[in-house]
Structures are given as structure tokens and as C-alpha cells.
Amino acid sequence: MAQDVIVGVADCRVSNQPESSLITYALGSCIAVVIHDPVTQVGGILHFMLPESSLDASKAEKNPYMFADTGIPMLFHQAYAQGAEKSRLVVCVAGGAQVINDAAVFNIGKRNCLAVRKVLWRAGVMIRSEAVGGTESRTVRLEVGTGRFMLRTAGRLENTSERRNDGVLCLNR
């Protein structure tokens, strides 16, 4: 029976259960890093809020998933522990929108985009696809058994993007 596993804000979930799906909602300036190993069928989503843990070291210690530089390594290590291999991982990134009330902090969405690219580049990981920027909130879903990655952007009803596990994007309306 299909199981939806919700990934909250500043949260991370990894699964090797083929019947489960990982979902994260309300990606405004936050970013979801979605990974999937098509051979061992291990998938994970990290939903982080801020780029660098040096912004608030005590918060990072309490919840490393809040930050790109601490959360992303943990996502990958948890996936490896469940049988994923780095060289096989398909990595997609979504979010990083410019939120209207962002005036107080320089475009945190863009800073998050730069941070995720920087961390993954440093880790030697190629990003397969990105759905970042803009001003609209996003929702992301990963089917662990198939690797299907679905993206929904707010404000557009019944408009979902589906990325097959070979990386090809197709639109379903």
C-alpha cells in the first residue's frame, strides 16, 4: 500500500521502501534537495531553509537540516546507509523563490540556490535538474520505487511536471 512520508521544513527523510513516496510542501525561499538511486531504489528529500550554518551555529547543532552545508551531507550519508551509491544518485533541486516579505534579508532564496550548488559542487555531485527561482511556492514529490519526481508550482492548477528516472522532464496537465 502506498505510503506518503511528509518531509517538513528543516527536515530530512530517506526511504528504501518501494511503495512509499516522499513529499515536501511550501517551498518558498527554502530548497528541497531530492536524491534517488535507481538501482537500490533508495530516495531522500532534504528541505532546508538557510545557506550557511555559520549564520547560527547553535541552531545548526540542534537541527543541522536547517542549513545547506550541514543538511546536505547528512542527506547523502543517510542514503548511503540505506544502500545508495554516490555515483548512481540522481539529484534534483527545487525551491529558492524570492519571497515577497524578503526585504529584511538579501534574497534568501537566491542565497539558498547558490549554497546548494556550491555544496554539491564541492561534494563532487552533478545536479540533474533544477526548478529554482521565481516567486512561486513549490511542492515536490518523489516516488521511491520508480524514482519519479513530480513538481507542482502554486498558482497553476493541475500543472505538474514529472521527471522520469532517466532525467527526462515531461509535463502532465
Binding site: 547558490l114 550548488r117 556550491k118 564541492r122
Partner: protein, 158 residues
């Protein structure tokens, strides 16, 4: 508006800003926050000269700590692990790439040859030079100064 900007009829400050943003974000994973103030020296400065439809030079200068952070990001290293001898090379490449982007926008369809970068260390003192447009940008890693000089003479042949 400088003499240069007046002659070219361009908002060179905007052009330098957008070019710096594009280069720094794309290959150095660094966001440009806006205008900044020159950081504390010593600085690493890289300059490239160009000739063609127009001749001149572009240089970038940053405090060594900023240059090291940018080099680490470019190479996919940490600040602690980046080989020190690579830092000047990377800042030279930053000047080279930035020059290419700027020239493409100053004169679309123009033909240019960009010379290899010259990198040097500046201890102190103002980075301002005569007859140029210079802007300082604030980054997460510190600040970076970008200067553009276009020769006052008749444009050369490509």
C-alpha cells in the same frame, strides 16, 4: 557619469554590476549583495588587457581572504584545502571571464583579443586609477573591486 560612460552612452556601473553578478554567481557560487566598501589589504589584484574594436583593460582586486574563499568555491575545495598557489590563478581567470562578459555587452558584435591575466599583490593604498570606471561590490565572502579602462585613442583594428 564618467568621461568614459558619457562617450559610450552606457550605464557602465550597471553593466559592471550585472556582469560581476553573472560571473560570480555562476562559477564562484557567490552572491553580489550590492555596492560595498573596499576591504582591508593586502589585496590580490588581477588585470587583463584587451585590444580589438576597443582597447583597454579590466582589473579585479579583493582582500586575500576574499580571494581565497572565491578560489575555494571555484575549485570545489574548502578554504582550508585550497592550494595557495591556485588562488592567484583563479583570480586571474575571474578577471578574464569578467572581461569577456563585459566586452560582449559594451559592444555586441565587436571583436576582441584578451591577453593573459597579470596578477599581483597590493599591500595598501587606493586602488583607484585614472580615467576608468571602478565599482566595489559586497559579497558574502567580503568585497571585490572591479575597474574598467577603455583607451582614449581611436579604436584599434581587431
Amino acid at each position: 557619469m564618467s568621461e568614459l560612460e558619457s562617450e559610450l552612452g552606457l550605464e557602465l556601473a550597471d553593466l559592471l554590476g550585472s556582469a560581476a553578478e553573472e560571473v560570480l554567481e555562476t562559477m564562484f557560487y557567490s552572491g553580489v549583495f550590492g555596492p560595498g566598501t573596499e576591504g582591508d589589504g593586502p589585496y590580490l589584484s588581477a588585470g587583463v588587457s584587451f585590444r580589438g574594436s576597443r582597447s583597454g583593460s579590466l582589473d579585479v582586486a579583493a582582500p586575500e581572504s576574499t580571494a581565497t574563499a572565491l578560489a575555494a568555491a571555484f575549485l570545489g575545495e574548502t578554504v582550508e584545502s585550497v592550494p595557495p598557489d591556485q588562488v592567484p590563478t583563479v583570480i586571474g581567470e575571474l578577471a578574464n571571464v569578467l572581461c569577456g562578459v563585459v566586452l560582449g555587452r559594451v559592444e555586441e558584435g565587436g571583436q576582441f583579443v584578451i591577453a593573459p591575466p597579470q596578477v599581483c599583490r597590493l599591500e595598501t593604498g587606493s586602488l583607484a586609477r585614472h580615467l576608468e570606471v571602478r565599482r566595489v561590490f559586497e559579497l558574502e565572502e567580503g568585497s571585490i573591486s572591479v575597474g574598467l579602462t577603455i583607451d582614449d585613442s581611436v579604436p584599434g583594428n581587431g
